[in-house]
């Protein structure tokens, strides 16, 4: 059994070590002085010092003196928060094979041998994460210091791992694994269970089987005489602590009905259930309250047209086709999701949902605050709540002695409009955040129209997209016209037209549409241009985002 591994001893990215090895936290001592400290659990210290030693917080307070051997960092009144924790991520996981047809369509080719099918309860994420440094930096520069990694699709997705966002990330640094078994409602292309119908039946049967396996093993352990040795089954063994309520089940459920279905399954089998996603939780607070477990709430808000139930039950009456009115009626409730949970007395963490970029993540948290979520509750939901939900409330999530030294250092309120993340500490290791030349917050997506003249992106770019398998090289030719551009992106995989090219100040975005086995998939790129260099991320639907860098060829 590979359950309940101690911190830092997750299975191995690099080389298997027989002897316990330290997780590689930064050695030595830091003193962060003249800091405004939001401890989250112990109030705010308006001017104080934090002492960090060997990756842990040694002391916090207004009257703490820096030790003699510590490197002193004078923060000049900047604010220190606990590092943010995002409980939805697929950082560093190999992308699942693209679905070749709709669910249960009967067409398409079977998944390649050995490829993830989403029916792998015993899949150990800690064994396979290989994050690209660019992706880690991308998240960390937004103040995120730890992410909970789990596959984004499947009925039984495997065991998640809580990962600190360090440049030198190895499996030895993993904070906790397994955190939970991950469940969802996606079926397997061309096989059983192929649809929502089959998935729920499959999950139910698997839990019955796990309960029986647990009973068999218990009886065999108690008295093997007269019994045959129970057959070993890794997938069933993985589910035993889940059906015993010892290991949490993280159930990915967004819409009202998904949430209600997941809660029903949780109740049927006595699972220690955490609903993850929960973008329509405000419509299912009764079920969530009854379930009595915390919720991981994504602030990747659905479009008003995507929300179930809405059009017919909730909104005011509008003229036919008046989508703007419907939109404005729906949006307060969508963005007020977390506020509604808070009012209902349900504990929750806030999450990016796995595909929002960090700036969008915090931007949407601000929208949630504007929609009625108290600011301090929001801060807790980004720090101590996710730590508790991930089972590491004693180690992370607040600025207290003994906790891991993960911090965000900002100028201005992290949850205010003009916050600038200046530095991030992970495991006591300091990472400076270099402010982008243009407006740092809400970059891209045309958020700021007056952000200076549009960057010149015309020409030929060598693009490198970081994937868990390594860098993918591509060449992009761009023809710019004012703030828009067109072009062609060519790689080994083929060639695709660059669509929706937009330049706003130094922010640039475009899409390409790939045809994969008859299904088209649109990948959205967002980047920042600095002279002849560009960096940013590519959002791949259903698979999260990948970092990219690009260099313009000089003529």
């Amino acid at each position: 059994m590979r359950l309940a591994l101690p911190a830092c001893a997750g299975a191995l990215l690099t080389v298997a070590l027989a002897a316990p090895a330290p997780c590689g936290a930064q050695e030595g001592a830091w003193a962060l002085t003249n800091a405004r400290i939001e401890t989250v659990t112990k109030g705010v210290i308006e001017r104080g010092t934090i002492v960090v030693r060997d990756g842990l917080i040694q002391a916090v307070g207004a009257d703490v003196a820096p030790p003699a051997d510590a490197r002193v960092l004078d923060l000049n009144g900047r604010t220190v928060y606990p590092g943010l924790i995002d409980l939805i991520s697929n950082l560093g996981l190999a992308a699942a094979p693209a679905p070749t047809a709709g669910r249960g369509g009967g067409g398409g080719t079977p998944a390649a041998e050995g490829a993830p099918t989403g029916l792998e309860a015993d899949r150990m994420v800690a064994d396979e994460i290989k994050p690209a440094v660019a992706d880690i930096r991308n998240l960390r520069d937004g103040g995120i210091t730890a992410v909970l990694v789990a596959p984004a699709r499947g009925a039984f997705r495997g065991f998640s791992a809580l990962v600190p966002l360090r440049d030198s990330l190895t499996a030895r640094a993993i904070i906790r694994s397994p955190v939970a078994e991950n469940l969802g409602f996606e079926g397997v292309q061309g096989r059983y269970p192929g649809t929502l119908l089959g998935v729920i039946a499959y999950e139910r049967q698997a839990f019955y089987d796990a309960k029986r396996q647990a009973l068999l093993l218990d009886r065999y352990r108690a008295n093997p005489l007269g019994m045959r040795r129970p057959a070993y089954d890794g997938a069933l063994a993985a589910l035993i602590p889940v059906v015993k309520g010892e290991l949490p089940a993280f159930f990915f459920a967004k819409s009202e009905n998904e949430i209600r279905r997941a809660v029903r399954i949780g109740r049927e089998f006595g699972l220690k259930l955490t609903i993850v996603g929960a973008t329509e939780a405000f419509r299912a607070t009764d079920a969530l309250k009854a379930a009595g477990q915390p919720v991981v709430v994504s602030v990747d808000f659905p479009k008003p047209t995507e929300v179930t139930g809405w059009q017919y039950r909730w909104t005011e009456r509008h003229a036919p086709g008046d989508s703007a009115a419907a939109d404005s009626a729906a949006r307060p409730a969508i963005e007020g999701n977390a506020a509604a949970l808070n009012s209902a007395g349900i504990r929750f963490a806030l999450s990016s949902g796995g595909s929002l970029r960090p700036s969008e993540f915090l931007g949407n948290v601000r929208k949630a605050i504007a929609a009625g979520l108290p600011r301090d509750v929001a801060l807790q939901a980004l720090t101590i709540r996710p730590a508790e939900i991930a089972g590491v409330g004693e180690q992370l999530g607040s600025i207290e002695p003994g906790k891991i030294a993960n911090f965000v250092v900002t100028e201005g309120d992290l949850l205010g409009d003009s916050a600038k993340v200046r530095a991030v500490f992970v495991d006591g290791e300091r990472y400076e955040v270099v402010a982008p030349p243009a407006a740092p917050a809400g970059r891209g997506r045309g958020a700021e129209a007056g952000a200076g003249p549009a960057a010149d992106v015309g020409g030929t770019w060598d693009v490198s997209v970081s994937t868990p398998q390594g860098a993918n090289q591509a060449t992009m030719t761009v023809t710019q016209s004012g703030t828009s551009f067109t072009g062609q992106l060519t790689s080994e995989m083929g060639s695709a037209a660059v669509d929706n090219g937009q330049v706003t100040g130094s922010s640039v975005s475009w899409t390409i549409t790939l045809n994969l086995g008859g299904q088209s998939m649109t990948i959205t790129f967002h980047g920042d241009v600095e002279g002849n260099r560009m960096r940013g991320s590519a959002d791949i639907p259903g698979m999260g985002s990948a970092g990219f860098t690009a260099q313009k060829r000089t003529p």
């Binding site: 709709g102 096989r191 059983y192 649809t195 139910r204 809405w310 036919p320 419907a326």
Partner: protein
């Protein structure tokens, strides 16, 4: 497009997700953006007065009153007094019939076919119900109050059905028809043997490929179920024989698929079997006889008229279309007299929709059986009320206007079989879930749009122009 055809279309291996995305998009496009849908209050005491009452079970009352107490019919008759404090619905000139029951539906389901295996008795439609589908409301507007949501016809033994009451606006759990016995979908013939499409690339043709194979799949599944039932019986016997201090025997593996089939054999789960041809109907009746269960209803059963005596002898119902056929080879030998002939031979016949659109005018389809074959008015009404209620095992609750039954009622402007009649009001458990006077009908929405245009400043209107 007929639902049966739609299922066939899916079976052709078209990417269903893409279809459903397109379908959802076009649905959204057709929808009015939104409308207020007040949830009707629970009805404690209601009286429908001055109505022509089509009781279905005991004739027509030309001018009568129905009293509803706590959702149940408390009194029906010509001389019934209106109790003090009752909310009165004056139905002068109107006709009241039992709420229509659609015995074959795929409404309000987020998934219909678990295509992968030919036996999927373990999957449950109740797991995938969506309460927010507008079709629920539109069906209420057609007088439908209960529907039998079935698994699709891709598999020999499909999933477990869900009988719903159309309590539009209430949470999803409130839609389930409480107390309705469980059921299951079977299917025979072309859909099951995948004869009308090629399997997708990389996918082998699924077993069974012939009607012989379909029978074998059925017999194999029930043979497994018999063995499974024996295993549990032996376990229960061993457990009862355990003496104090002895170890409990180990229970057998619980198998959700075989559980459902054991329930079928024990008469605790009703079988609704999709079929077309006379030979496969007889095959199914033989298999059911051999394994000791009764088929509650044959679905579609377009050649039922050829074997009506055998169907009647088996005590099996027949749930068919009024006049819809020819959409595939096994549907060629159909005749519009099917419902009438089966009725004459003593078969309980239902007229179903298999389609959200047809479901809204089932009363017109029932009327057709009077034209083709001269079915009596009462028998025609039964085809969309009492007979489907029997097939679903809920005839003690719904299907006729009798004291003690649920107040699921449809109030029509004229006789339901008259071509120009339409539904004015639909009640479920005595609650008004559809009322044409307040419904967001096209007329109302157009009127509202015009009002908004009149109130809009002239400048803004001309600025936009006609786009």
């Amino acid at each position: 497009m007929n639902r049966d055809q739609l299922r066939d279309g899916e079976l052709r291996g078209i990417a269903v997700a893409l279809i459903s995305v397109v379908a959802a998009a076009s649905l959204a496009a057709q929808q009015p953006a939104s409308f207020t849908m007040p949830i009707p209050p629970a009805a404690h005491l209601v009286a429908i007065t001055n109505a022509t009452i089509l009781t279905v079970s005991h004739g027509t009352i030309p001018r009568g009153t129905i009293v509803i107490r706590e959702g149940k019919i408390a009194a029906v008759g010509a001389d019934v007094a209106v109790p003090a404090g009752a909310q009165v619905i004056d139905a002068t000139g109107r006709y009241v019939m039992p709420g229509i029951i659609d015995e074959h539906s795929h409404s309000a389901a987020e998934a219909v076919n678990e295509f992968s295996n030919s036996v999927t008795a373990e999957v449950r439609m109740a797991d995938v119900i969506r309460e927010d589908m507008p079709t629920i409301y539109w069906q209420l507007a057609g007088g439908v109050t209960a529907v039998n949501v079935l698994h699709g016809s891709a598999n020999t033994i499909g999933g477990q059905n869900a009988v719903l009451k159309l309590r539009w606006g209430l949470p999803v759990d409130s839609l389930l028809f409480e107390g309705a016995p469980p059921g299951i979908k079977f299917a025979l013939g072309e859909n099951v043997k995948e004869s009308n499409f090629q399997p997708g690339p990389g996918r082998e043709r699924r077993y069974p490929a012939t009607r012989m194979g379909v029978e074998e799949v059925l017999r194999d599944a029930f043979t497994r179920a018999v063995a499974y039932r024996t295993e549990w019986q032996q376990y229960e016997a061993a457990r009862r024989a355990v003496r104090r201090g002895q170890a409990e025997p180990m229970p057998p593996r619980r198998d959700l698929q075989l559980d459902a089939l054991v329930e079928v054999m024990d008469g605790r789960r009703l079988v609704h079997a999709h079929c077309y041809r006379a030979d496969e109907i007889l095959m199914l009746l033989r298999v059911a006889h051999d394994f000791g269960f009764r088929v509650a209803s044959l679905e579609h059963v377009l050649e039922g008229y050829k074997v009506a005596d055998e169907i009647a002898a088996a005590g099996t119902g027949a749930s068919t279309f009024a006049d819809f056929w020819g959409y595939k080879l096994e549907a060629y030998d159909a005749i519009p007299y099917n419902a009438a002939l089966m009725t004459q031979h003593g078969v309980a016949v239902a007229i179903n929709s298999d389609d959200d659109e047809r479901a809204r005018r089932l009363y017109q389809d029932a009327a057709k059986t009077m034209h083709y074959g001269g079915v009596s008015e009462t028998d025609a009404l039964k085809m969309i009320t009492l007979n489907p209620a029997r097939m679903l095992g809920v005839e003690n609750r719904v299907g006729s206007i009798d004291v003690g039954k649920d107040a699921d009622l449809a109030i029509f402007s004229g006789h339901p079989f008259a071509p120009a009649s339409r539904v004015e009001m639909t009640l479920v458990d005595g609650r008004v879930f559809f009322d044409r006077t307040t419904a967001p009908t096209l007329e109302h929405l157009m009127q509202q749009l015009q009002e908004q245009r009149q109130h809009r400043p002239a400048a803004a209107a001309t600025d936009k122009g006609e786009q």
